[in-house]
C-alpha cells in the first residue's frame, strides 16, 4: 500500500462553540486535485489553514507522507505552497521585489525564473510599478506567479480565482492539471464552476458538518 501524500484522520474543529467539522477523514494522493465545497462560513478556509500548518486549533491527526505532521514540519514546509485570502503581496514593493522576497523565503526557487513567471501571469511591463498602483486582480496575479516558480508538491489554494478574469482562470486551471499530471497534488476552494471538474474530486463540508 502506498502512503498518501497527506492523510487526515478524524479531524475535529470547532469555532465559537459551533462545530465546523468532526470525524473528518480523507487522503490526498499524488496526482490528485481536490475541491472543498461548502457554503460561506462552513469552514473551508479553516480547514485549509489547518492543513497548511498555520492553525493548530483542531483535534485529530494529520499525517504527511505517513509521518505525523508536527514531527516533520520542516520537510512539510519545503513541499507546500499556500495561497490564502490575503495574497501575501506588499503594496509598496513592485511585483518583482515581492517575488524576490518569496524566493528568499524558499531557497529552492530559482530567482532567474521570476521574469518568466511574471510574463506568464500577464504582468510584463508592470515589473517596476509598486503593487498599490495595480488592480486587485493584478495583485492576486503577483501572488499566483508563485505557482510558476515553486517546486512544492502540494498546493493549498484558498479561493485562487477571486478577481481573476476568465482567461486567467482557464490558464490557472490548466496549470493545476499540469501540476497533477506531474505527480503533484492540489487542494482548493473556489466558488467558480471549474471547467476541469471531471478530473477533480470534490467533497462537501456542509454534509460533513455536525449540526
Amino acid at each position: 500500500m502506498s502512503t498518501a501524500l497527506l492523510h487526515v484522520d478524524k479531524l475535529y474543529c470547532e469555532r465559537d462553540d459551533r462545530i465546523l467539522f468532526e470525524d473528518l477523514s480523507f487522503s490526498i494522493n499524488a496526482g490528485e486535485v481536490i475541491q472543498v465545497e461548502g457554503q460561506n462560513g462552513s469552514g473551508k478556509t479553516t480547514l485549509l489553514r489547518i492543513l497548511s500548518g498555520l492553525s493548530n486549533h483542531y483535534e485529530g491527526d494529520i499525517f504527511w507522507k505517513g509521518a505525523l505532521l508536527s514531527t516533520v514540519q520542516d520537510d512539510f514546509r519545503r513541499e507546500i505552497l499556500y495561497f490564502g485570502h490575503h495574497p501575501g503581496v506588499k503594496a509598496v514593493l513592485t511585483p518583482e521585489e515581492n517575488l524576490h522576497w518569496y524566493a528568499a523565503m524558499h531557497p529552492s526557487i530559482d530567482g532567474k525564473k521570476i521574469a518568466m513567471a511574471l510574463e506568464q501571469v500577464g504582468l510584463r511591463g508592470f515589473e517596476d510599478s509598486p503593487c498599490h498602483t495595480l488592480s486587485a486582480g493584478q495583485n492576486r496575479r503577483v501572488s499566483l506567479a508563485r505557482l510558476y516558480l515553486t517546486s512544492a508538491k502540494l498546493w493549498i489554494l484558498d479561493e485562487p480565482f477571486t478577481a481573476i478574469d476568465k482567461k486567467g482562470v482557464a490558464q490557472k486551471e490548466q496549470l493545476i492539471l499540469d501540476h497533477a499530471a506531474n505527480g503533484g497534488s492540489v487542494i482548493l476552494t473556489t466558488h467558480h464552476e471549474l471547467a476541469i471538474s471531471e478530473k477533480v474530486r470534490r467533497f462537501n463540508l456542509d454534509e460533513l458538518a455536525g449540526t
Binding site: S52, R77, P87, G88, V89, K90, A91, Y102
Partner: protein, 239 residues
C-alpha cells in the same frame, strides 16, 4: 527553533543563513524607506518631548542638567514603544507574515533581521539625535559619551523586547495599549541602568559596570527574544 550547524555543512549553511538575513533586512529597510511616516513618527515624538520639557517644567539650566539623562532616556524609551506596533502589523494584514511562517527557512534568523531593521529605523536615529536633545537640556559635555553609548547598547534591547509584545498582540485589532502593558516592566531595568550610566558619566564615576550590565541584558535578549518572538507569531497567526 535554533540553528544547529554541523561542521561539514557549516560553510554552505552559514552563507545561506547570511543571505537570508540580508534579504529580510534589505526588504524591511526598503519598506520603511518607502513609507516614511513610520520612520519620522518616533523621531518627531523624541524631539517634541525635549522641546516641551523646558517650557513645561523650568528653563533653569541647572535644573534641566539634573533631569536631562532621565528625560532623554524616557523619551527614547517611549518613542521606541510608540513605533513597536508597526513591526509585524502590516505583514500580518497583507498575508506576508503567513508566508514567512510557512517558509522552511529558520524563523529565528528572519525575526532577528526584522528586529535589526526596526532598530536601524528607530533606536539608531534616536541615538544619533540624542546629543542634540542633550544640548537643548544643558546636559554637561562629560555626559555625552555615556549617553550615546548607553543608548547604543540599550535601544536594541528595547526593540527586541518590544517585538515580543508586538508579536503577541499582532492578531488583535487594538494591540497598542496591550504592548505597553506587557513590555514596560521589562523596559525598566534598561532604563535604570541607562540613566545611571549617564549620571555616572556626568559625575565622573566609572561607567564600565553599567555598560557591562546593559551589554549582558542585550546578549540575553539577542539569544532569547527571537525564540519568544517566533513562538508568539505562530500563536498569533494560528488564532
Amino acid at each position: 527553533m535554533g540553528i544547529i550547524v554541523t561542521n561539514e555543512s557549516a560553510n554552505s549553511e552559514g552563507s545561506s543563513v547570511l543571505s537570508l538575513f540580508g534579504a529580510v533586512l534589505k526588504r524591511d529597510l526598503m519598506l520603511a524607506y518607502r513609507k516614511k511616516s513610520d520612520l519620522f513618527n518616533p523621531l518627531i515624538f523624541f524631539l517634541m518631548v525635549a522641546t516641551l520639557f523646558p517650557l513645561g517644567v523650568s528653563p533653569e539650566p541647572d535644573f534641566l542638567a539634573q533631569i536631562a539623562p532621565g528625560v532623554v532616556w524616557v523619551a527614547a524609551l517611549l518613542a521606541t514603544l510608540l513605533s513597536m506596533e508597526s513591526v509585524f502589523k502590516s505583514d500580518f494584514e497583507d498575508g506576508t507574515l503567513e508566508q514567512t511562517l510557512l517558509s522552511p527557512q529558520p524563523l529565528f534568523v528572519i525575526v532577528l533581521a526584522k528586529v535589526l531593521a526596526h532598530w536601524m529605523m528607530s533606536g539608531l536615529p534616536l541615538t544619533l539625535l540624542a546629543p542634540l536633545l542633550a544640548v537643548m537640556l544643558f546636559l554637561p559635555a562629560e555626559g555625552m559619551s555615556g549617553l550615546m553609548l548607553s543608548l547604543l547598547i540599550g535601544t536594541p534591547t528595547l526593540s527586541l523586547v518590544g517585538a515580543i509584545g508586538a508579536a503577541l498582540t499582532v492578531g488583535l485589532r487594538k494591540g497598542g495599549v496591550l504592548i505597553s502593558l506587557l513590555v514596560l516592566p521589562l523596559y525598566i531595568p534598561v532604563l535604570i541602568f541607562g540613566t545611571s550610566a549617564v549620571q555616572a558619566a556626568v559625575t565622573g564615576l566609572p561607567l564600565a559596570g553599567f555598560f557591562a550590565l546593559l551589554g549582558a541584558i542585550l546578549a540575553l535578549g539577542l539569544v532569547l527574544a527571537p525564540l519568544a518572538i517566533s513562538a508568539a507569531l505562530r500563536i498569533s497567526v494560528s488564532g
